[in-house]
C-alpha cells in the first residue's frame, strides 16, 4: 500500500507561537484517518499546510506523491477540501456553485451535469438546486460544501469538522458517505471534535496536543493502552443486601446499583468466582456479565486533559 500523505517534521510558527511542532505521519491510500485534538491544538493549521493555504515554517510533506512546496498545483488537483466554514458563493445557486467547482477542477464538460446530479441525489439537495446558497440553512450549506469538495472525485479528501452544524440525519448520511469513500479507496483525513464519530469512522487516529502529535494508532489500540484496572459489570436476578458488598470488598472496588454490580479488580477470575459464590449463597443468580472497554473519549481526556464536551461548547461559542 502506498502512502497518500506523508508529513516529515512539519512545523508552523505564527510569529513566536508554535502552532504545529515537528509533526510526522504516514497515511496510507484508502485509509480514513482521524485527526483529533483540543481547540487550538494545530489540527486546522496542519490541514492548511497540506492543502497549500499556509506555508510550513520547517519540515516537508507530500500529498498524493507530490511535494507540497514544489508541486502544489498537482496536489490541489488531487485533493478535495471541506473547510470548517461554509464558504461557497451566496449569490450563486446550489447548481451554479457545484458547476463552478467542477469547472475549476477540470471535470470534463460532458460529465459535469451527471456528476452534479449524482451529488444532489446523494446529499438530498435535488429540490434545492435552484436556491441561492445564501438562502440555505446552515445544515444544507454544509451539505453543498461537502458536495463541492467531491465533484472532481479527488483521491484524497480533507474534512475539517464536516458534521459540525449538521442535523442528525445529514450527519448519519455523511458518515455513510465517508465509509463509501473508503470502499472506493479514497483517503479521508478527518478532523472532528466528535470523538465517537472518529472512533466509528477512522482506521487510525492521531491525537495532537499543543501542536505535538502525542499518539498515532488504531482507535482500538489507543483504548487498550488506556485500559487501567479491568472493569466488570454483572446483572443479578435480585437486588443483593449490603453484606454481600462488604464481603466482596477484598477483591477490588465494588459499586452496587440496584441489581447491577460493577467492580474493578486486578484478578477478574477471582472476582467473578467470588461474586458467583456469594450470590448463590443468597439464592441469587448472575444473569449477565460484561467487561467494560474504556472509550476513545476517555483515552482522549487522558491524553489531552480536555473533555470533549468543553471542546464542543468552545467550538459553538466561537462560531
Amino acid at each position: 500500500m502506498n502512502d497518500a500523505i506523508v508529513l516529515q517534521g512539519l512545523t508552523k510558527y505564527y510569529g513566536s507561537l508554535l502552532a504545529v511542532d515537528h509533526a510526522s505521519l504516514n497515511i496510507e491510500e484508502g485509509e480514513v484517518f482521524g485527526f483529533l485534538g483540543p481547540n487550538g491544538a494545530g489540527k486546522t493549521t496542519t490541514i492548511r499546510m497540506l492543502v497549500g493555504l499556509t506555508t510550513p515554517s520547517e519540515g516537508t510533506a507530500s500529498v498524493a506523491g507530490y511535494d507540497i512546496k514544489k508541486n502544489l498545483v498537482e496536489v490541489k488537483r488531487r485533493v478535495g477540501v471541506v473547510p470548517e466554514t461554509s464558504n461557497l458563493y451566496d449569490e450563486l445557486s446550489v447548481w451554479d456553485n457545484l458547476l463552478f467547482s467542477s469547472c475549476l477542477y477540470h471535470v470534463p464538460r460532458n460529465e459535469r451535469a451527471d456528476r452534479i446530479r449524482g451529488l444532489l441525489e446523494t446529499f438530498n439537495l435535488k429540490e434545492r438546486q435552484s436556491t441561492k446558497f445564501g438562502k440555505l440553512s446552515k445544515g444544507l450549506k454544509r451539505r453543498v460544501v461537502i458536495a463541492a469538495a467531491l465533484v472532481h472525485r479527488p483521491r484524497i479528501v480533507f474534512m475539517d469538522e464536516p458534521t459540525s452544524g449538521l442535523d442528525v440525519v445529514s450527519a448519519l448520511s455523511l458518515r455513510r458517505l465517508v465509509r463509501e469513500l473508503r470502499r472506493e479507496d479514497t483517503t479521508v483525513f478527518l478532523t472532528t471534535h466528535y470523538i465517537e464519530e472518529a472512533d466509528q469512522l477512522s482506521d487510525r487516529v492521531a491525537i495532537i496536543v499543543e501542536g505535538k502529535i502525542v499518539v498515532v494508532d488504531t482507535p482500538e489500540n489507543i483504548k487498550q493502552s488506556f485500559r487501567g484496572v479491568p472493569i466488570l459489570e454483572a446483572c443479578l436476578s435480585q437486588v443483593p443486601d449490603e453484606s454481600m458488598m462488604h464481603e466482596m470488598e477484598p477483591v477490588g472496588i465494588v459499586e452496587f446499583k440496584g441489581n447491577r454490580v460493577r467492580f474493578e479488580a486486578e484478578n477478574l477470575t477471582e472476582a467473578l468466582e467470588s461474586l458467583i459464590r456469594l450470590a448463590s449463597q443468597r439464592g441469587i443468580q448472575v444473569t449477565d456479565v460484561n467487561t467494560l472497554q474504556p472509550s476513545l473519549e476517555e483515552a482522549f481526556v487522558g491524553l489531552t486533559g480536555v473533555s470533549p464536551e468543553s471542546m464542543k461548547i468552545e467550538k459553538e461559542r466561537r462560531r
Binding site: 497549500g52 493555504l53 499556509t54 506555508t55 498545483v73 490541489k76 473547510p83 464558504n87 449569490e91 475549476l104
Partner: protein
C-alpha cells in the same frame, strides 16, 4: 499548464461577473454614473464638452474599475470564498488576474457608455481609434490592478473603499481630467507624473483630438504597461504574503 490556468481565469471571471458585477443594482449604477457625469458637465459647460470628454472617459474608467473590484476581493476574503479559489489547482497569479479582469470588464462597460455618450451626444470624433482602444484597455487594466492592490492590502470592505479614495480623488484632480497638468505648480506636476491616470488622460486626449504624435502615445502606453506590471506584481506578492 497554461491552458488550465487560462481556463481557470475564464471560469473565475464568469463567476464574478454573474455573482457580483452584473447584478441589477450594479448595472443601473454603471449606466447612471456616466449619464449623470455627462449631464452635469454639459450643463456647466455646454460648448467645451469635446475638450472634457477624454477626462470624463478616464474618470468613468477610474470609478468603474476600482469601485466594485475592491468590494469583491475584500468581501471574498472576509467570507472565506477567496480561500476556496486558493484551494483550486490554479496559481495565485491567475486568481489575481481573473479579479483584475473582472474590474476591467466592469470598467469597460462604464467607460464604454461614457464614450458612446461623447460620440452620440457631444459629437466627439476619435482621430486614432486603434490607439484609443489600446489606451482604454491599458488604462482599465492598470486601474483595475491598482484596485486589486488596494483590496489585498486591507481586511475590511470599508477600509478598501477609504483607501481607494486616497488614490481616486487626487488622481481626478491632479492628472489632467479638469486642469491641464502643465498649468499646475511644479511640485503638483511631479506628483501627477507619479500617477497612472496622467498618462491615460494625456493619451486619450491625443488619440481623440489627434493632437499628438505616435511616439508620445507609445510612451504613455509603455508607462501604463509598467504601472500595470508593478501594481499586479505587488498585489501578487501581497496575496502570497498573506498565506505565510
Amino acid at each position: 499548464m497554461l491552458v488550465d490556468e487560462l481556463r481557470g481565469i475564464y471560469y473565475i471571471l464568469l463567476k464574478d461577473l454573474k455573482a457580483y458585477y452584473f447584478k441589477p443594482p450594479n448595472i443601473s449604477w454603471g449606466i447612471l454614473f456616466p449619464l449623470v457625469l455627462a449631464l452635469a458637465f454639459s450643463l456647466r459647460n455646454p460648448t467645451g464638452l469635446v475638450e472634457l470628454a477624454p477626462g470624463l472617459i478616464a474618470m468613468a474608467a477610474v470609478f468603474g474599475t476600482t469601485s466594485m473590484e475592491a468590494i469583491v476581493i475584500t468581501f471574498e476574503r472576509r467570507t472565506g470564498a477567496l480561500e476556496r479559489l486558493l484551494l483550486a489547482p490554479i496559481s495565485i497569479k491567475s486568481i489575481l488576474m481573473s479579479k483584475i479582469l473582472g474590474g476591467t470588464v466592469f470598467g469597460f462597460m462604464i467607460s464604454g457608455i461614457m464614450t458612446m455618450i461623447s460620440i452620440l451626444v457631444f459629437n466627439m470624433k476619435i482621430q486614432s481609434p486603434l490607439w484609443f482602444s489600446l489606451i482604454i484597455v491599458l488604462t482599465l487594466l492598470t486601474l483595475s490592478s491598482l484596485g486589486a492592490l488596494v483590496a489585498v492590502s486591507v481586511k475590511e470592505v470599508f477600509e478598501a473603499q477609504t483607501l481607494s479614495n486616497y488614490f481616486r480623488f487626487p488622481m481626478i484632480f491632479l492628472c489632467g481630467v479638469f486642469i491641464p497638468v502643465a498649468s499646475m505648480p511644479q511640485p503638483l506636476q511631479v506628483i501627477a507624473y507619479l500617477l497612472p491616470l496622467t498618462y491615460s488622460v494625456d493619451a486619450l486626449r491625443s488619440t481623440i483630438l489627434g493632437t499628438s504624435n505616435t511616439i508620445n502615445t507609445l510612451t504613455n502606453a509603455i508607462a501604463l504597461s509598467l504601472f500595470f506590471l508593478a501594481f499586479s506584481s505587488i498585489s501578487n506578492l501581497q496575496l502570497k504574503r498573506s498565506l505565510r
